[in-house]
Symmetry: C2
């Protein structure tokens, strides 16, 4: 991997067979057997690899070296304080110059507005991509069932556009749309037609899933999964080069369409966040301000993740709160405002593309506005409990499966795994109407409240009043309905779908294709909710005399099964992701009114409490831990009463900390310290005896600077003194000229005392975004604590394996 | 002022003539002529004030003293790190015990749920209070105009409830409601009736305003103003005892009703935030967890301020975002979720009280849903520019007036000032319909889109089609309308109202009555918007042939003046308060749809940019600065390139820092250091020579501990050694027993190096909520930086008077 840019895409060239797990394994190998775990993965700094062909290359290298000072290696954590400070310096520079000339003033103004322009571009690009993905996925999904005679590029709905306007009831049957059975064997009904359709469905599913997994593995291994765990980690300051690159974007967009269309039990909502973040990261390259600063870039990515949810659900405010609550780490108010702008732009771009064909912004539009009764809060809370239990079960089962996958033989053949799961999904899903349709279609069907003219199976109610069905229906209103045979069939099918969806999603999430979890978990919840809703409805119908159903007997409608489905969906999603405010707001934006916000709160709150009682982590945190990323959870409180001296390195039995002195060491000695140790940085002290702290220097900067100096600065040899002092004496005792490296020294390293409680230390790390912190005792430097030390300590305190934290 | 509790109300007893400005003046006197400005306002610690009457009092004092260690003085800043650490200790204690017995488990669970219970109570109480305030203010406002014959406790609307249902058009004229003229002189029309009504209107206005200001001054001086600047400061960690006490709550609630009813140009929205925060603070006393911890209490107050906005506008999500964006300082995610819950409870409590009489949640319900045209963005941006300009103008004018008031003679007679302003307001407002009605009534009138049956002056349109007016109107639809004479009159009256409202609000905001700024500024903006809207409408009507109005000619409605009014209101409110996301979301919740969110964004964004270009501060920040509160603005970046050593005390020319040594000083010496200096705390070093930092001790804790030890610990005399070491030697050379005070020492004071850039230092202070920070140079203690030093430095760097920062 080269270091010429951030997040550069180098998968198509060299290491195209790596995927995330392999990379982890590589990194793990690298990290093994090193003390303090403070390594630098800096490849290519070995002396001797250059210097042959003259000054041109040398100058290049010098330039390169100067640029590289202050950058980071792959799989390392950034220093937020330094990055933000760098940005403030840059800003100060521009502000100071602004009065000099008109050009500088213009530069200053354009600098101030570049953030807004960037947000606009991210919104436009993500909105357009999301629209494209929606349209393509619709078309490919319908392709599994049939073809349009007007042109193969029409999906079912477009194809039947004309016929829809004339016959409302039979809108699914239009002459131009032919199922595969009609096209091949010429019949539309009967066993042979069923078999042909079944076979075609399975074939297309296998083809799409195979294409998806092969594309991901061949071109962009990072394109798999939902991406949210990695984005959370990146936003907290980690660097994974290529994770948000252009190849990942292209491949993820294509394979997302394929994976969704293949009928696998996955959604496109999570991956859309990844897609939006890729857009954000790529567009950052247009502006120096964001290209060169890792902290500023992360502000943009926070906004981009808001954009992702905004386009996924058509919920801009919910998207911003999702970014704030779920994924972001550093979220200043300025970012809040900009995220909101970008989320709106994206939502409107998507609406103007109009992929849902109804000129509505939201994914699931809910049309019912019937009031709910206070006593219904009891079944709502039941749904919450179900959601919490299901969420906790899902996380455990999925974690167990993911761990098992690593050890299983099948885990080494991801293509085969995907194809097998797709085969199982397609074969089992086809016979059941509710599993055959796409997840989002299923959810909107379940959310739907039966209107009088609705012909779906779920709305097959018989009226108690005997007589002409339609009229009777009309006369008795919608309030008084007994379930017809269709509803009973639907109940059975839904119950089977519930079990099937749960099991198949456990094995699907975590495979090597883009896979989101929002839609599958919402679908499960919606099924459970609809079932409970139908049950309640029939209970109310057959027991009008019960006091709790007293209010139902008259003309007002009593139970709305669609509302139960909605609450069930929210509860399951909440149980899996542990979202709270953002979830309620997304649902609020879907329903567009405050009527159902109390039931929503009741269901999501219960769900979160129940799930938290069974396991603290949401699915994303669990996957972060599984992958060993260095993520300092901002929500979790550190509960234990340990002190900084219990966590810092070196431990009591270890040799003392490797430090550099501010004077008195020569280049050779410094290089020896670098070669002997693998720490990512060295404290600089007054002298070995006093151990008074002067500053801190990063290994990477030190290595690069010494190399540069040896190459380009006259007279720097191994015996040259290395100084970190303010004043450089001209010549020391006639020896070689000294090398003053004060410029690369961090003069303001944060130091805490050894008695600082760890809860405060964790707070300092989190809030300031530190990478390391020095520990002093009565003014003497005693040790160092890195983010990784803290994470290992936290793992230890909760009886987890501290070695599971892989990166620094 | 005593120190027996936090925020206790002692204004009814002793210092009832103090008001906020007087208190400031007192504090300022106290602070004068002290070096380093590190004072402690601790009154009542002078030795000799007690000790006469025996052990009972002594034990009381001891107990009191032990409790007082770790508390804060009035007008001081809390240490967030310490408070949060204290709370974690408490939590750890409870968690540890939880396995011991069933009772402990119950205590642990009840501790976990006490936060939710508290939120529920705050929501219920604030909702109920807001409902009561609404009802009472409606009634008193109508009392200025007349009386209901059915019973004097009915307001105009209630009184006419029956008649309204029969005659729609003349709903304002019902037989039971009598104007004062009808009641006294028996005529309802003509000059004499007008004069009688005028006189009664003015009389009531004077009475209400007089009562309001007298009540405020007599019982709760802190009840005046909007309260938001002070709440922002309190949330950032400042202590103002009594500001959120029960007297303030009672008096603010009563006087708010009176002030609003008096017709003064003020609103109840800002003060409702203060009322909700009072509820929050008072209810905190029910739970030890919140009563005893200043940081936890501030989390509750953050949620309470969300509740305030939620009940003010009926916008729960907007309220939460308002709290997040505008007032809160430390807002963890847990608080976000709880605020949301509390805001919802409050909104639903308010709705069940139903003060607006329409079972709607929102204050201004907007009914139009006509689309807007892309070209209209130009006038929308114009409204934004107007809002920004008006906001910047208002802030400057109000600040100038507030500063002038302090020096003017009138400023010393606040009662007279209020009565005079009320007189001027009433006399000038009565003749103009649009100023006579209450601010919120005016705004809803302006937001209203004219329906066909609307009889108001603003809807007096004539149809181009000659013929029966009503029919013609119907046939030509609403799209094609020329303004009638009523509209032209309204335009003139509105223009006058605009000027009047602007000028009178400048002098009103900051008077010694509860006064909010939301409604007056929204009213001004709504007037401006409506005027522009009518202008655009007529332009479109008379120039159908212009290409930009091409789309208007047909049946669709072209320009919605009500929408312009809404955007104008948002723009002006944004210009004054610099709210962004929360403003858009509040407006979104009022309109209940995403249709107008792009115009809203355009208007508020422009408004904020324009206003920011003319002055960085919003009105609340300006008032904070005016009052000299120590508020470290979290939004503003520190731009200058100074270092910690430029800011720390002592300066280069000053005598060295007063420190204590960890051993070697006796009680008398320590007391001498305390007496000689006025710092609020002392660093503890190894020895005077080495200046190696060991810890930090607060003056208050030190004074209390020494006093306690002298009183209760045997053998502690002036010559006793004071130790801060880990081990206490039994007896030192036969002298008196030593006093070990390590327990009150902060073992983990944060120290930064003298080379730390100030931007990083400011960041550390903000993010960790520090009160002070020690500065070291090469491991030696060099100085100290307090929050006040930083604020003074920031004032200096922006050419403001550093002495304007009054408190520590």
């Amino acid at each position: 991997m080269d270091n010429s840019g951030f997040y550069n895409d180098n998968y198509s060239s060299g290491s195209s067979d790596d995927d995330l797990v392999d990379l982890n394994a590589t990194a793990q190998d690298l990290l093994e057997d090193l003390p303090y775990d403070e390594q630098d993965n800096g490849q290519g700094y070995s002396p001797g690899g250059r210097g042959q062909n003259g000054t041109a290359k040398l100058l290049d290298l010098l330039d390169d070296g100067l640029h590289r000072v202050g950058t980071y290696d792959d799989f390392n954590t950034i220093d937020w304080v330094r990055e933000k400070s760098k940005d403030r310096d840059r800003h100060r520079e521009i502000s100071k110059k602004k009065k000099d000339s008109v050009l500088d003033l213009f530069l200053s103004v354009s600098d101030a507005f570049s953030g807004w322009l960037l947000m606009l571009l991210i919104g436009l690009m993500s909105g357009a991509l999301a629209g494209g993905i929606d349209i393509a996925a619709h078309w490919l999904t319908d392709l599994k069932e049939g073809l349009c005679l007007n042109g193969f590029w029409f999906n079912h709905e477009h194809c039947c556009w004309d016929s829809r306007e004339t016959t409302f009831q039979e809108r699914d049957k239009c002459p131009l749309w032919k199922s595969w059975a009609e096209l091949t064997v010429g019949v539309s009904e009967g066993a042979s037609a069923y078999v042909v359709n079944y076979l075609m469905y399975v074939t297309w599913a296998l083809l799409f899933s195979y294409l998806a997994v092969v594309l991901v593995r061949a071109f962009a291994p990072y394109a798999c999964g939902s991406g949210i765990p990695e984005i959370k980690t990146i936003l907290s300051g980690f660097i994974i080069r290529g994770y948000l690159g252009k190849w990942t974007l292209v491949i993820k967009t294509i394979t997302l369409v394929l994976a969704v269309s293949s009928g696998l039990s996955l959604g496109k909502e999570g991956p859309l966040v990844h897609v939006a973040c890729c857009c954000g990261n790529i567009l950052c390259h247009l502006f120096t301000k964001y290209r060169k600063n890792e902290a500023k870039r992360r502000e943009v990515l926070s906004a981009a993740s808001a954009v992702g949810v905004s386009v996924a659900f058509g919920a801009p405010i919910g998207g911003v709160l999702f970014s704030l609550e779920e994924v972001s780490y550093y979220f200043p108010l300025k970012t809040l405002w900009r995220s909101f702008f970008a989320a709106l732009v994206a939502a409107f771009t998507l609406r103007s593309i109009n992929p849902f064909g109804n000129s509505r912004l939201v994914l699931f539009y809910v049309e019912f506005h019937t009031p709910w009764h206070l006593l219904e809060l009891f079944p709502f809370v039941l749904l919450g409990i179900f959601g919490g239990l299901w969420g906790a079960f899902f996380i455990r089962a999925n974690m167990a499966w993911c761990r098992r996958r690593k050890n299983m033989r099948l885990g080494h053949y991801p293509v085969l795994e995907v194809v097998l799961v797709a085969l199982a999904t397609a074969v089992l899903a086809f016979p059941n109407d509710y599993t055959r349709m796409s997840g989002s279609h299923l959810i909107s069907e379940l959310f739907n409240d039966c209107s009088l003219l609705d012909s779906s199976q779920l709305c097959d109610y018989t009226s108690q009043v005997k007589g002409g069905a339609m009229n009777a229906n009309l006369s008795s209103g919608l309030s008084d309905r007994a379930a017809g045979p269709g509803v009973y069939t639907a109940v059975w099918q839904l119950a089977l779908a519930l079990v099937f969806k749960t099991l198949i999603t456990v094995v699907t999430f975590g495979m090597k294709v883009p896979s989101g979890l929002f839609i599958p978990s919402m679908a499960v919840g919606a099924i459970a909710g609809r079932l409970l809703g139908i049950g309640m409805e029939q209970l109310a119908f057959y027991n009008h005399d019960w006091s709790i159903f007293r209010g139902c007997s008259s003309s007002t409608k009593c139970i709305t099964p669609g509302l139960y489905a909605m609450l069930g969906a929210a509860a399951c999603l909440g149980g899996v992701t542990r979202m709270t405010v953002s979830l309620v707001v997304i649902m609020f934006e879907l329903t567009g009114g405050l009527e159902y916000i109390v039931p929503l709160m009741a269901a999501t709150m219960t769900s979160k409490w129940v799930a938290d009682a069974l396991g603290r982590e949401g699915i994303y945190e669990a996957h972060i831990r599984l992958n060993g990323y260095p993520f300092l959870e901002p929500k979790e409180e550190f509960e234990h009463k340990t002190l900084a001296m219990d966590v810092m390195r070196p431990r009591r039995s270890d040799p003392p900390l490797s430090v550099l002195t501010q004077s008195g060491m020569n280049v050779e000695q410094v290089e020896a310290v670098i070669a002997d140790t693998s720490y990512s940085g060295f404290p600089i002290v007054m002298s070995q005896e006093s151990q008074r702290l002067v500053g801190f220097v990063l290994r990477r900067d030190l290595v690069i600077s010494i190399e540069n100096a040896r190459l380009c600065q006259e007279g720097i040899v191994g015996a040259s003194q290395v100084l970190f002092t303010e004043h450089t004496p001209a010549q020391l005792h006639g020896g070689p000229p000294p090398l003053n490296l004060r410029s690369i020294m961090d003069l303001s390293p944060l130091a805490i005392t050894d008695h600082t409680p760890m809860d405060i230390t964790v707070d300092i790390f989190r809030k300031l975004g530190l990478r390391q912190c020095l520990v002093t005792q009565n003014g003497r430097l005693l040790g160092i604590i890195t983010k990784k030390d803290i994470l290992k300590h936290m793992a230890q305190m909760t009886n987890r394996d501290p070695e599971s934290i892989l990166f620094n």
